[in-house]
């Protein structure tokens, strides 16, 4: 089994998002970086499938040189190697992102490294385009199932489940295939110290890709207007309990 997982570096925002003055990006001066929880689960799933079936796994990102941090994080929980498609830091729209990923996958195939399973997040944390995985699948003519919350591989077939309105929808697709993962498929492990040390020695293939525009052109980002709320402090500690129950009664929430 040979698995590729694609992740995107995004800022780890707190309780309020601060934008740069030109509205082009999030002000990240005081922020750390991470990947979408869906992608963390995709990474964990790749590691689990390799533990079960044997083989190797690769993590790929298209992003600035610093995105190597997210690649190392994936390798610290067990991914074997990494590919960095290095941009100059501008965010790429989904179409060229998918194209660049497809090119990298083709180059790997030419070098004798073909993937049986391509894992993506269901949507990226920041852009939320819901499409890069699907575009890669179409370009490579592979079957694709989105929003996966359970995966079992039997005899070269992926049996997957996703949630839809109170039901599990079950799909079966032959490998190679593209799956986009949703958080909840597993609980990702934390990296161990030896895992982190090993990750530092694992290979990262760097490929420069520059900038590329696409047919969805960002003009600016804005924060939606929040309705101002006036918090009413009901009290401190257990003594506030009667006030809380008054409120529950007022809202008609205590069943008789």
């Amino acid at each position: 089994m040979n698995i590729l997982v694609c992740v995107k570096r995004v800022p780890e925002t707190g309780a309020r998002i601060v934008l740069t003055e030109d509205g082009q990006r999030i002000d990240t001066r005081y922020l750390g970086f991470t990947v979408s929880p869906h992608e963390e689960c995709a990474v964990e799933e790749a590691v689990r499938q390799i533990e079960k079936h044997g083989g190797q796994s690769t993590v790929l990102t298209l992003g600035p040189p610093e995105a190597v941090e997210q690649l190392r994080a994936a390798m610290s929980i067990g991914i074997d190697s990494a590919i960095l498609l290095e941009t100059d830091g501008e965010e790429w729209p989904p179409m060229p992102t998918a194209e660049a990923i497809v090119e990298a996958i083709r180059q790997q195939a030419e070098a004798g490294n073909t993937f049986d399973l391509l894992l993506f997040g269901n949507e990226s944390a920041d852009a939320g385009g819901y499409q890069v995985g699907v575009r890669v699948a179409q370009a490579l003519d592979l079957p694709c199932v989105t929003g996966i919350k359970a995966l079992e591989i039997r005899d070269g077939v992926a049996v997957v489940r996703r949630e839809a309105g109170g039901f599990w929808e079950v799909f079966e697709v032959p490998l190679p295939a593209v799956l986009t993962i949703k958080e909840g498929i597993n609980v990702p492990r934390y990296p161990s110290l030896p895992g982190r040390l090993r990750a530092k020695k694992k290979p990262v293939l760097e490929i420069k890709v520059g900038t590329r525009a696409g047919g969805l052109q960002k003009i600016r980002l804005r924060t939606p207007e929040e309705e101002a709320s006036q918090v009413q402090i009901l009290g401190e500690g257990p003594e506030a309990a009667p006030k809380v129950v008054d409120l529950l009664e007022e809202l008609g929430l205590i069943p008789s």
Partner: protein
């Protein structure tokens, strides 16, 4: 012409599609064009529904192999209708299925796609506003391509039924599908077993975060939820620590809830959590830290240890009920 894909599950229309039709009817008006709808493998009642929300023409696509939902086959059908009818805009609801079908459509036609739009402005350029970061940021963007492909963020437009719905003009459409288009099909559908009230239907959600401290710590949240006929929710820290199942998670990558009252216990109010609960009618926070960001955003707050406050609240409810 604007073409709207109607999403249905075995004949039952998805309410997000009615919002889409309302949005599409207004956009068609402002562009001086007409609104058509596409129903794939659905009953005629769906055409009537589509007409009642503004579709002037409804294309009814049928194929012997198309019974249940199949993402690529739906996208192939849509692209073939696009080739035949040359719409200026093609849209679907920004649901799991809507986004999936339009992503396939965009890829097949090598076109850009703007997902989860809330607004469209048509002038010299075609501009959209779309939601990012699960709803905590908006993006204004120019969308290129012929036709323009977009999905509409659910709940961003209120569905409006026409007062005097006209009879729809029906056109049947027979897509040509290959084995390849049908390779991803639903095998089976199993009910998800849930106990008690579901998170999204509960009148009260009692949610816990890192401040709860352990899986056992949730007992007191369960108790209060039980007394109120509500459900227990969780922050990502609680689900990531294995204290609660992921199905309980509220937020950007969990459920979006809008109960009468949301009680956030030991949750700081990170933006990714907030987008999942901000539509609640009322929000009550229980937190030891008066400076926690969620306190300022809430309607009511108790400053204190949830492990002291919640038992006292449960005891007070029992006392007043005389049980």
């Amino acid at each position: 012409m604007i073409l709207a894909l109607i999403e249905h599950d075995r004949g039952e229309v998805n309410p997000a599609s009615l919002e889409l039709l309302t949005f599409g009817r207004k956009l068609a008006g402002s562009m001086g064009t007409s609104l058509h709808a596409l129903v794939i493998a659905g009953p005629k009642s769906l055409a009537e529904e589509a007409a009642a929300y503004g579709a002037e023409v409804v294309h009814m696509a049928a194929h012997e192999q198309l019974e249940d939902y199949a993402p690529e086959a739906w996208a192939r059908t849509l692209t073939q209708l696009m080739d035949a009818e040359k719409p200026e805009v093609v849209m679907a609801a920004g649901t799991d299925r809507g986004n999936e079908v339009l992503a396939h459509t965009a890829a097949m036609k090598d076109l850009p796609l703007a997902t989860n739009c809330t607004e469209v402005r048509v002038g010299e350029a075609f501009e959209v506003t779309r939601v990012r970061w699960g709803g905590s940021l908006l993006e204004d963007a120019r969308l290129l391509g012929e036709p323009r492909l977009l999905t509409l963020a659910p709940f961003s437009t209120a569905a409006e039924r026409l007062p005097d719905p006209p009879e729809p003009t029906l056109r049947s459409f027979a897509p040509t599908l290959s084995e390849r288009d049908l390779r991803v099909r639903m095998k089976e559908r199993l009910p998800i077993r849930t106990e008690g009230v579901s998170l999204t239907d509960a009148p009260v959600v009692v949610s816990g975060g890192r401040g709860v401290g352990s899986a056992e710590g949730f007992a007191v949240l369960e108790e209060l939820a039980g007394l109120l006929g509500g459900a227990v929710g969780a922050s990502r820290v609680a689900t990531n620590n294995g204290w609660r199942p992921h199905a309980d998670q509220v937020g950007q990558t969990g459920s979006k809830v809008a109960p009468e009252l949301y009680i956030a216990c030991g949750i700081s109010g990170a933006i990714q959590h907030w987008v999942g609960c901000k539509n609640s009618k009322h929000i009550l926070v229980i937190n030891t830290d008066p400076e926690a960001p969620i306190v300022a955003k809430a309607d009511y707050a108790v400053i204190g240890d949830l492990h002291e406050v919640l038992p006292a609240v449960c005891a007070e409810i029992r006392r007043r009920r005389g049980t």
